[in-house]
Symmetry: C2
Subunit: 492 residues, 2 copies
Amino acid sequence: MLPVASALPFSQALMAAPDSPRGALAREIEKGRDADIARLREWIALPSIAAENRNMREGAQYMAGLARDAGFTGVEVIATDGHPGVFGVMDNGAPTTLGLYFMYDVKQFDPAEWSSPPLEGRIVDKPGWGSALVGRGAINQKGPEATLLAGLHAMRRAGIRPPVNLVLLAEGEEEIGSPHFRQLATHARVLPALKKCAGIFIPACWQGPDGEVSINLGAKGVVELELVASGKAWGRGPTGDIHSSNKASVDSPVWRLVQALQTLVTPDGNTAAIDGWFENVRPLTAREKELIAISAASSDEAKVKQMMGVTHWIDDLPFEQAIERQASQPTVNIEGLVAGYTGPGGKTILPGKAVAKLDLRLVPNQTRAEAERKLRAHLDAHGFPDVEMNVSGGYDPTEVSENARLIKAQEKAYAAMGVKANLYPRLAGSWPGSTFTAPPVSIPATQFGIGHGSGAHAPDEYFVIDSTNPKVAGMSGAALGFVELIYQLAAT
Amino acid sequence: MLPVASALPFSQALMAAPDSPRGALAREIEKGRDADIARLREWIALPSIAAENRNMREGAQYMAGLARDAGFTGVEVIATDGHPGVFGVMDNGAPTTLGLYFMYDVKQFDPAEWSSPPLEGRIVDKPGWGSALVGRGAINQKGPEATLLAGLHAMRRAGIRPPVNLVLLAEGEEEIGSPHFRQLATHARVLPALKKCAGIFIPACWQGPDGEVSINLGAKGVVELELVASGKAWGRGPTGDIHSSNKASVDSPVWRLVQALQTLVTPDGNTAAIDGWFENVRPLTAREKELIAISAASSDEAKVKQMMGVTHWIDDLPFEQAIERQASQPTVNIEGLVAGYTGPGGKTILPGKAVAKLDLRLVPNQTRAEAERKLRAHLDAHGFPDVEMNVSGGYDPTEVSENARLIKAQEKAYAAMGVKANLYPRLAGSWPGSTFTAPPVSIPATQFGIGHGSGAHAPDEYFVIDSTNPKVAGMSGAALGFVELIYQLAAT
């Protein structure tokens, strides 16, 4: 569910040559390059897909093996009521502990839609970026995770102990909304270890074409759900599909769904109209607006629009206000509609059922539980008690203080590498970070990384191995970036 | 596009034993039974599917062969701008000429959904009905058509000339909305032949469980179309699918479609709200209401509801008013909705495009051209000029006078066979009959037949061969029914 990249990239930045005190490690990482690529390719060859119950046990065992190889100890596959997680620690005798959040699962894929086999990890040329490894999970999230492990392998080979202790927690259900992740995070062995961490992050290689990255001070929450109108639940209309000529005397569950849907948003489809939706929405602070203004000023609006395939923001807003909206507004989005006949041409039926797949993004101080409750109450109050609401997953929003030690260390690490990093109030996408930021864990949680890839959830997902863009790191540079963060956190 | 059966069946009736003056032909039909079944099975084995451009030339040639074998002369495959039609005549030197409308195409099918191979024509037991031949086209429309041909074969074998001349016109595009049927009907050889006909009918074996049939004095028209909202046409929102987190700053073509749709109907989804839609809608006449009252009084409402899987009519109307609505009201039906991710679970995308598949049923004096024009004007006037309207086919409504000679002959034929037949003002389904009823052809056009089958357009479509229901004809009885009509028309 983690998005490909922040929707709105940031100002231009240059990737400095790594002639820092970490030069020795840079050379060691370069030596391990072939083994690091092979490790990633082998991992991609074993896809764990929770939605298909595919390779889940195998994937957890494999993740445990990767952790052990990288130097973690006490590595354990931890059962949940769903698919298992993996936990391990690396006690380096340091005063500071850093958490690493991994996911070993990947999104479903259809090989027919790919230009090279999705489990092969073939290396192809990506014009403008360099050579890139193509495969399911390449960027979301095995590529960045394997790259962090590459950094740890290099330190191990060089006989250098990381200057922080590490705690690794991996789940296998991220792509289905992390339904049992709280069980993992509050497990008797895991919780005390997490609480020791100065913060936790998921490796993420999201540099834009100008090398830019963002340091996200939180992320929106989300609820994913289906709304279902059916003759069966309604007690009107047909229970199955019948001939469409009967519309003259029989009610339509499809029209019912359309009417229910249109009560959820303003007529332009852009603002939630669910009763009480904005009660707990906290407006942007002056500081958040300031950070957005900085981002807008240093971003290339035309390039952003071109990448997204859009020509106008909502209400034709200027760029800065569009980013403010992106960071501050909850959304009611229709991911998909399915009813009746969906093939080519037509088929004269009156369908017995209609489904809308929605995602609702939430901002502080909304909560997932509040959102579910209010949507149900809204449907009931507007005369649609029969429209079923099937929630498949979701997270609360997260917030991280810009004064958190992990954030300060990220700023220093990016600066040390000459990477332009903008503080950004809130990722418009969502991730299970609230499991860490909320009690009982209560630690800062965010993303970190340089390097680049794209195509999460899509065909031809890729991760750049050797970058031809001087502003963007390849795999080795990205591995060094993770090492840099470890050193900067120790020193912060 | 022809519906399986009239939505609302009629009063109970008994199928009399055929000890009429046509007894000799009844025995001759019984003798030909095996050959008649074999002829139907062979025809089903060659599916012509216009939407897939499958076996169209072969299907037309096969249809021509069937016509020649049954005694038609001058049989010709006639080219159109689409798929060809077949035309033939049988000049019996009679003062009266009867038209036969056939379709040689069938609906698409997925063998995986069938309990026996859809091209095999396997004969299975259908509890409550008898033995039935299962195959694509069994009831829609090869079964009834082959049954009529069986009657002609029997007459030929018995050396009996039909007491009317026959004109046969078959098309191969009925299942895609008959886009070139007018070309066929107005062809230089065809038009003069059709204009000589006292009327034309499509063989239809739609007896209900109590043996009831209806004599439909017309049928609704229809327009089938897709409404498409897209970022491309709108100039807002994304041109392709993008990550759903962008909903906060980017417009949604899916919400656009939902908003456009909900302007088309009243909030209950049951009455068209398209500007000017009812201008030319003719209310039911006193006679039409009378016919409906007779139908309602002699029908079993509970059984009708059970067959359709509905528990309430629109507005909880009593049965008679529900049938009035069915006969008199134009409809705006959503056949299907397709947008974004339609698979299991969710996928966090903001789709670039959304499609609604609609069928609009039309009543006299609406026309297809008027409906298309008004829907476009409505969308434009309500601020949706970008919502594309792609019409795939349609027909005008048809009307036939109850005093037409063909209708009188049908009443007599059913009465002679002891079949309860209700005059019904208007089939709520649609068929290309307006090509016949409108200028320049201008002849009565309707359906006729006894016998039973069901499952048009669905898996396991079937046609009853030997009926175990004493009120319902099997194939031989249905063949005799067609012969009966021929005699009754000659005598009317």
